[in-house]
Each structure stands twice: as structure tokens, then as C-alpha cells.
């Protein structure tokens, strides 16, 4: 005979993940035999579900209705650890970091309210809810701007451009101007007006955007949301997964799934207008847009010899030169294949075989030369690994390469001795890196910069004129007498610029800033 206490014990063990196989068999038998047990089981599970739903699934819209949200924090102390965690996008892996943001539900304040339980701790003065990851043309209204890249609780108004925020639990939000938001914490933001795209990983499940008409609870998905400032209507477009549209008054939940849309006006659901392409920019599109503006500016630099944007052409073997008037032609691609570069939509060439290369010709004689490229080195297979090398080893030829340890080296081939007067850090593998080689026959010196920092300096004594001529990108047409004939680089390149002058260090630094893959990208 099974007593009520036995049954409740069994149900509790199942609910708490402590049931044995014998428990499971017992449940099967009891459920099949008795309608009374099934009724008790339903009652118990309904309680289990309701507690979960109220504490977890329903987030706390009441928090967002709080009339007193603190202003963004003044210049507070730099939170290196948090910053690193945001950048890595693996915040949840770090239990310590997680604990800082953990939502701690408090007991219900008003029993009649639907979302009566979940409520984060009060925001602390130096709380960082989100970080600015990227942006293009971004301009915030005075007094409603982030503190550097940090977004604490408070109101923000984007008057121009597009920004990409990453919240502490992993949700990404792309905000397009004009837009106003009120950040409450890492999981709760109010959209007052404008457009956002949200991409929330499973770790950010429950990420909630409140609006005047409804609350939008993300269940691990991607969606676009627009709030019309005048009417207060909000339009939701779910691209993938599910978003729960919650009426803060009644607690009613409308689940909207991938491919569907919904409009909310004054708590009522209605059909949303059709989605237009480009309505909700993606995180990757920001970087690409920023780079396209940079490319336009670059092409106005009359001191360029060539600018190769690595844009795939109809004839895929052509490496197009986007700068006319520098005396250089398009390059030719042999073996290397097209792939994706720093951002989705940005083309790059992949070099992963000994025979892969692209060929460009830098005609004439020069006193000064700068070669700069964005590269992603996957692996180092050889003693020397070329970024851009003149064919063979004639005096006046230029070499720009990595050694087996990943240190940059090269210069101009000169008669007589030379000295390396400074050697800095190696090139990191597996991430996008800006490398620039600046050679001057006038000062008889060469500087190589990695992500804008000096990584090698070389000096020599003899006179030499720079005659780069035919060069291979990511490979070398060897001098038959050389010991290290194979110098194939394993990796990608998505931009190459060549100037007939020596760029100063600060100008190299600006190139790095303009082309950086994202604001959280590290130069180290």
C-alpha cells in the first residue's frame, strides 16, 4: 500500500533529479494503475512547473518599470577581469564572474502580480551591464552616452550610427539610430524607441526587452524589435528560436517562433508590417560598414601605390587593385581560395598549400616603401614564412616574413652587414593581425609593426635603392641557391596596401584602429 507521503517522496525525488531506477519503475506502475495517483502527480508537477516558470521563465518586468534607474556611473574603476570575460564571450565558463551577475529571486511582494518573483539585486554604482563591442558612425546624445565602452544601468540615446553591445550573460544587441534604451542590468533593457537586433545564446536565456506595449523574453534566439516612438507600437520579428511576448498587466504569454512576427499595441496583438531587408543590422555588418568607409578614405590617399581590398571578382583569379594612379596593376591569384575575412561579407584569400600564392608587381625604383596587410596566421610550417617577398634574392628586393617562432623579419636585400636593433613580440596565431613593414633607403632603416607596435627594427650601412618588382603574397619564388626555398604561409589575408613612402608610427597605429575586427579585439 502506497501512502500519500510515499507518493510525495517519490515525486520529489523525481523533481530534484534524485530518483533511482526502482523509483522510475514504481512511478510507471502507479501511474498506470491509479487515476488518483495520476491526479496527485498532475497536481505536484503543476506546482513544480509554476515555481520554475515564475522564478526563471518569467523575468521581472516590474524591475523595468521602476521609476528610479540610476544614471550611468561616472568614471569607475577599470574592471579588467570582466572586460576579458566579455571579450572571450564565455562568461558562463567563469563561475566567479557568473556569481557577480546571478539573478537572485526575492520573495513575492504582491501576490496578484504575474511576474512577482525574479528580481536582481539593486544595481551597484559600478555595475557594468554591457560593453560596446563595435560601432560605426556612432554618436550618443550628451548625458546619455556610455562611459567609454561601458554601459551601466541608465538611459542611453543613440543619435547616429549603429552600435553593437554585448551584455554580461552573453546576449548581443545591435542598436541602430535613432534609438533610446534604458539598461537595467545584464538581462533587462527597456527599448523606449528605435530598432534593435538581439542574438541571445542559451546562457542568456530569459534576456528581456521591455517596451511600452509588451515585454519580450528571449529563449535563446535571434530577433528584431522596433518601437515606434509616436504610437508606442512594437513590432517583433523572430529570425530563429522563440520569443515570449508577455503582457506585463495580465501576465499572458504569446510565444512567437522563428519566421513569425507580431505587433503589440497597448497590450493587444496585431499583424506586424512586412520585414524589410536591412531593417535590423547584424553585428558583423557593423565591422564591414566601418571597413567600407575606411576603404573610401584610403582610396583618397594619393601616396598609395596600390590598395588591394581582397574583393572577390567574377574572374576569381584576379586580385583587384582598388587604387588607380599608383602605377600598379591588378594581381594574379594562383591556388589560393576565396573565403571570409574579418567580418561576414568581407572576402579574404586562404593560403594553405605550398603552391598557393598571389602575385603582384611593384614597378620602378623607390627610396621609401611601406607594405601593410591584415593577416590571420593559422600555423607556422617553415623556417621562414612569407607575407610579401620579391622574387629571388636580388639586391633592392624586399622581403617581409615570419620566422618559425612567429617573429616578423625582412627588409631590403643589401650588400654588406645589417643589424637588428630591436625585436618585439611574435605574431599571435589564429587571430587577425595588422602587420606593416616600413623601409627607408634614406635613413637606411626598416621598422616592422605588429598591430601598431614596433616589433623589429633593422639598420644597414650601404646605399641601396628599393626595387621590389615582381612579388609573391604569402609565398616566395625562391632563389635556387637558398637553403629555405619553401616559404608558404598558412593562413588568410584580407587587405594589402602599398605606399611609396615611409609611414610614421602614428599613422600605422591609425590604420590598426580603423581596421580592427571589433572594439573588443585585443592587440596583444
Amino acid at each position: 500500500m502506497t501512502t500519500d507521503a510515499d507518493l510525495e517522496g517519490l515525486f520529489n525525488r523525481l523533481a530534484d533529479g534524485l530518483a533511482s531506477e526502482a523509483d522510475e519503475r514504481a512511478l510507471a506502475e502507479l501511474l498506470r494503475e491509479s487515476a488518483e495517483v495520476r491526479r496527485a502527480y498532475r497536481e505536484f508537477v503543476a506546482l513544480h512547473s509554476a515555481l520554475h516558470w515564475d522564478y526563471v521563465a518569467a523575468s521581472g518586468p516590474e524591475l523595468l518599470q521602476s521609476p528610479t534607474v540610476p544614471a550611468p556611473p561616472p568614471g569607475s574603476s577599470w574592471r579588467t577581469g570582466w572586460f576579458a570575460a566579455f571579450g572571450a564571450g564565455v562568461l558562463l565558463a567563469g563561475a566567479a564572474a557568473m556569481a557577480l551577475f546571478l539573478l537572485r529571486p526575492v520573495p513575492p511582494a504582491a501576490p496578484e502580480q504575474s511576474a512577482y518573483l525574479t528580481k536582481p539585486d539593486a544595481p551597484k554604482a559600478d555595475t557594468i551591464a554591457a560593453l560596446l563591442v563595435d560601432g560605426v558612425g556612432a554618436e550618443f546624445a550628451p548625458g546619455r552616452a556610455p562611459d567609454g565602452v561601458r554601459f551601466g544601468p541608465g538611459e542611453y540615446e543613440l543619435v547616429q550610427g549603429v552600435v553593437h553591445l554585448r551584455f554580461a550573460r552573453g546576449a548581443d544587441m545591435v542598436l541602430a539610430a535613432p534609438a533610446r534604451i534604458e539598461v537595467a542590468d545584464a538581462q533587462h533593457t527597456r527599448l523606449l524607441s528605435g530598432k534593435v537586433r538581439v542574438v541571445a545564446p542559451p546562457a542568456a536565456k530569459g534576456f528581456t526587452i521591455a517596451t511600452r506595449s509588451a515585454d519580450y523574453v528571449d529563449l535563446g534566439t535571434e530577433f528584431g524589435l522596433r518601437v515606434d516612438a509616436a504610437s508606442g507600437a512594437s513590432d517583433l520579428y523572430v529570425f530563429d528560436g522563440q520569443v515570449n511576448v508577455t503582457d506585463p498587466q495580465s501576465g499572458a504569454v504569446l510565444p512567437v517562433t522563428g519566421g513569425n512576427s507580431s505587433r503589440s499595441v497597448d497590450g493587444r496583438a496585431a499583424p506586424a508590417p512586412p520585414l524589410r531587408e536591412g531593417d535590423f543590422p547584424t553585428p558583423g555588418s557593423i565591422g564591414l560598414k566601418r571597413w567600407e568607409e575606411y576603404e573610401r578614405r584610403m582610396r583618397e590617399d594619393r601616396t598609395l601605390l596600390a590598395f588591394y581590398p581582397f574583393r572577390r571578382q567574377a574572374d576569381e583569379s584576379v586580385l583587384a587593385n582598388a587604387f588607380e594612379g599608383g602605377g600598379m596593376d591588378d594581381g594574379r591569384i594562383a591556388g589560393a581560395r576565396w573565403t571570409t575575412g574579418r567580418w561576414p561579407g568581407k572576402d579574404a584569400l586562404l593560403f594553405d598549400r605550398d603552391t598557393d600564392f598571389a602575385q603582384v608587381t611593384i614597378p620602378g625604383e623607390h627610396q621609401e616603401l611601406t607594405v601593410a596587410a591584415w593577416v590571420k596566421v593559422e600555423r607556422i610550417d617553415f623556417v621562414l614564412n612569407a607575407i610579401l617577398n620579391s622574387d629571388g634574392a636580388e639586391p633592392g628586393g624586399v622581403h617581409f616574413q615570419l620566422n618559425r617562432q612567429g617573429f616578423v623579419r625582412g627588409g631590403v636585400i643589401v650588400e654588406g652587414p645589417f643589424q637588428d636593433t630591436f625585436v618585439g613580440k611574435p605574431v599571435p596565431l589564429g587571430s587577425w593581425v595588422h602587420v606593416a613593414s616600413v623601409i627607408s633607403a634614406r635613413t637606411r632603416s626598416q621598422q616592422i609593426y605588429v598591430n601598431g607596435s614596433l616589433a623589429r627594427e633593422r639598420r644597414w650601412q650601404s646605399d641601396v635603392t628599393l626595387k621590389p618588382g615582381s612579388c609573391r603574397v604569402c609565398n616566395w619564388l625562391p632563389d635556387p641557391k637558398d637553403k629555405f626555398r619553401i616559404r608558404a604561409l598558412r593562413g588568410q589575408i584580407d587587405e594589402l596596401a602599398i605606399w611609396g613612402r615611409a609611414l610614421p608610427a602614428d599613422e600605422v597605429g591609425r590604420l590598426v584602429e580603423a581596421g580592427r575586427p571589433g572594439l573588443l579585439w585585443s592587440k596583444e
Binding site: A28, Y41, H48, Y55, V56, P108, P255
Partner: protein, 173 residues
């Protein structure tokens, strides 16, 4: 999209009840969330087939039943599959539909019953049901055993169930 207002209203109304039914088969609330999400996806796809002259919940419950069984199969829950064959799943789904008239009342009763719990018990419930909360984590944090934590939760759940029954009894009396 072609989804009627009626459909939107109905799917909104039955979310919690579908979750409770799914939970009766998968036991883990977060996993029940996932199955509910899959069920909602199917319901939206089938929205055009929904006959507005017929009751919504039994129609939706059938899809929840299939999704929960499919989920158990996919996740190779051998024991749960032994517990929940097609017949039992159907029986539970059919009977779950009969709770519809009292389901919302129970939810409101729970809200009021939670208020009556001592602060220390409410805190225990909060920690068990917060995101990522589990008796194992609570036991590790409190220097006790998962069984000891589960026993305490059992007493609190018992009190809540009793309180809900009392409240519903009051309402009908």
C-alpha cells in the same frame, strides 16, 4: 503569416499548462522549456489547420505529447521511455486537459501561498528554482547532502500543495 487573432489568444493562454504537462514527462523544468519551444514551433506551423470550432487545448496537447515523446527518444532516456509509452503519454495528456478550468486558479492560489511561507523557506525555494539552481549545487554550497536539501524542499512543497487545496476549497465552498 495568416494566423488568426483567436489562435494567438489561445496559444498565449495555454503556455503554462502545456509546460506542466511536458514537465510531467521530462521532469527537468529547463528541458521542459525546450520541448515547449519545439511544441510552439509546430503549433505555429499548424496554425492554419486549427479548427476554431473545436477546443484549442486538446489539439495543442496532442502536439505536446508527440514532442515530449520524441524528445525522450532523442535523449535516450531509457528509463523514462519505459515509464512513458504511447498509451500512458496519451492518458496523461487527455487527463491534463481536464485540469483546464482550475489551472489558473491554482496558479493564483500558489502566488498567495508563497507569501505565507517563512522567509527562510521562500529563500530555499528561490535558490532551488533560480536559473541553474539544483539540489546538488545547494547541497555543495550548504555543506549538506542533496537528499537533505530535497527533504526540506519536500516539506515546503507539501505545505504549498496543502495551502493551494485549501484555497481552492474555500473558493468553491
Amino acid at each position: 503569416m495568416g494566423v488568426s487573432t483567436e489562435f494567438v489568444t489561445q496559444i498565449t493562454r495555454c503556455q503554462r499548462q502545456l509546460h506542466a504537462f511536458i514537465l510531467s514527462m521530462v521532469w527537468n523544468p529547463a528541458e521542459a522549456d525546450d520541448v515547449l519551444q519545439e511544441t510552439n514551433l509546430v503549433l505555429w506551423e499548424k496554425a492554419a489547420e486549427f479548427d476554431t470550432d473545436r477546443p484549442f487545448l486538446p489539439w495543442a496537447m496532442r502536439f505536446a505529447q508527440f514532442q515530449a515523446l520524441a524528445w525522450l527518444k532523442r535523449h535516450r532516456r531509457q528509463h523514462q521511455r519505459l515509464v512513458f509509452d504511447d498509451d500512458l503519454a496519451r492518458l496523461l495528456a487527455d487527463e491534463a486537459v481536464t485540469d483546464e478550468p482550475v489551472f489558473e486558479d491554482r496558479r493564483l492560489a500558489l502566488a498567495s501561498c508563497l507569501q505565507k511561507l517563512p522567509a527562510e523557506q521562500r529563500d530555499l525555494i528561490a535558490r532551488r528554482y533560480e536559473p541553474e539552481g539544483s539540489v546538488n549545487a545547494m547541497a555543495a554550497a550548504g555543506g549538506t547532502t542533496p537528499k537533505a536539501v530535497s527533504d526540506r524542499l519536500r516539506r515546503i512543497r507539501h505545505a504549498l500543495l496543502q495551502c493551494i487545496r485549501r484555497k481552492l476549497g474555500e473558493a468553491t465552498a
